[in-house]
Amino acid sequence: MDLVQIASRWLHVVAACLVIGGVFFMRVLLPMGLRTMGADAMRSEMYLRARRGFKMMTHSCIFVLLVTGTYNMILAFKGINANPNLIGSKALFHGLIGVHLILAILVIVLAIVALKPKEPKANAKGLMTVNLVLLFLIVATTSATKATRDRLNAEGARVASDAAK
């Protein structure tokens, strides 16, 4: 059971790395790398091929993120609710998870819309930029959720320890 939990968290982080790193590479690094390549036709052909690979990768990652994310969320709620030492407010923790979920759904919809056509539309670059910013915001909510959970556990432990004395 422990191994499944660890593997689920690991898969979630690796899939997130692939998506965020991939969007950054497609939006920022690849256009910079292709800028000095000779013919326009060859450049756009290469970009399209990279986009096809990126699309396959993104769709697989979305699936992994949804499955592992649901499982991790259930575990997090169980962990927080089962902790007898925890007396602080859980509202912030729950709220942050809610924001994380909403942003994740938005990013998934945007990614599917941006990658759906065989050739990128005029607004594809803008959509990718918005997606990259939203992905960084999602990571921020994750970080805040982690800090809140640690804080709740630490304060719970401190109060319980004081009570035991």
């Binding site: 422990d2 939990q5 660890i6 968290r9 690991w10 982080v13 690796v14 997130a16 790395c17 692939l18 998506v19 965020i20 790193g21 991939g22 950054f24 590479f25 690094l29 690849l30 910079m32 790398g33 292709l34 000095t36 390549m37 060859m42 290469m46 970009y47 091929r49 990279a50 096809r52 690979g53 990126f54 990768m57 962990g79 927080i80 089962a82 902790n83 007898p84 030492n85 925890l86 960084f136 990571v139 921020a140 994750t142 970080s143 805040a144 982690k146 800090a147 959970r149 640690d150 804080r151 556990n153 630490a154 304060e155 719970g156 432990a157 401190r158 319980a160 320890s161 009570a163 035991a164």
Partner: protein, 170 residues
């Protein structure tokens, strides 16, 4: 640090360092995976000399990401280590320390390889092989981080009803 910085500043600093650590990880690991998985698909129909040109260009633009991310990973990692120090020295929660140590050691190894691959005008011998080895190391680093957190959370949230000693704030 906790002594010289007010609580409210620490509450801002800790999530920000956590955010930086994850963002830099996604850029290095995701970028390397992208370099490994997608760039070869993009240039499979090019002539060998064109392929080499594309790989060299991609390496050139990727290297500033690696350098900036490596510096920020080390900085944010040190802040997180400072924050976790009391937890790692706790009798019970300290069980996660050996995993944290492994995370730091392997992470340092991965960063050194990434830096060596991007420093200089030309890559070292067998760059693709080194990149694959580094990718495996980086994935193991994330796995070990996951284990460290799991051990710490399991110990601090176990429903035994006993008060857990050790906390981030005394």
């Amino acid at each position: 640090m906790a002594m010289v910085m007010p609580d409210w500043l620490l509450h801002i600093l800790y999530p920000i360092t956590g955010w930086l650590h994850i963002v830099c990880t996604t850029l290095i690991v995701g970028g390397t995976l992208f370099y490994e998985l997608v760039v070869p698909i993009a240039c499979e129909e090019l002539r060998p000399e064109q392929q080499l040109y594309v790989f060299a260009r991609a390496r050139w633009v990727f290297r500033w990401v690696v350098w900036v991310s490596a510096a920020l990973l080390v900085g944010s990692g040190l802040v997180m280590l400072w924050r976790m120090w009391p937890v790692y020295h706790d009798k019970i929660l300290g069980a996660s320390f050996r995993w944290g140590l492994m995370h730091m050691g392997l992470g340092a190894m991965g960063l050194v390889i990434a830096l060596l691959l991007t420093i200089g005008r030309s890559p070292p011998a067998h760059p693709i092989r080194w990149m694959r080895i580094n990718l495996v190391i980086l994935l193991v680093v994330i796995f070990v981080a996951s284990v460290t957190r799991h051990v710490r959370l399991t110990l601090s949230e176990k429903p035994s009803g006993e008060p857990m000693p050790g906390s981030l704030k005394k």
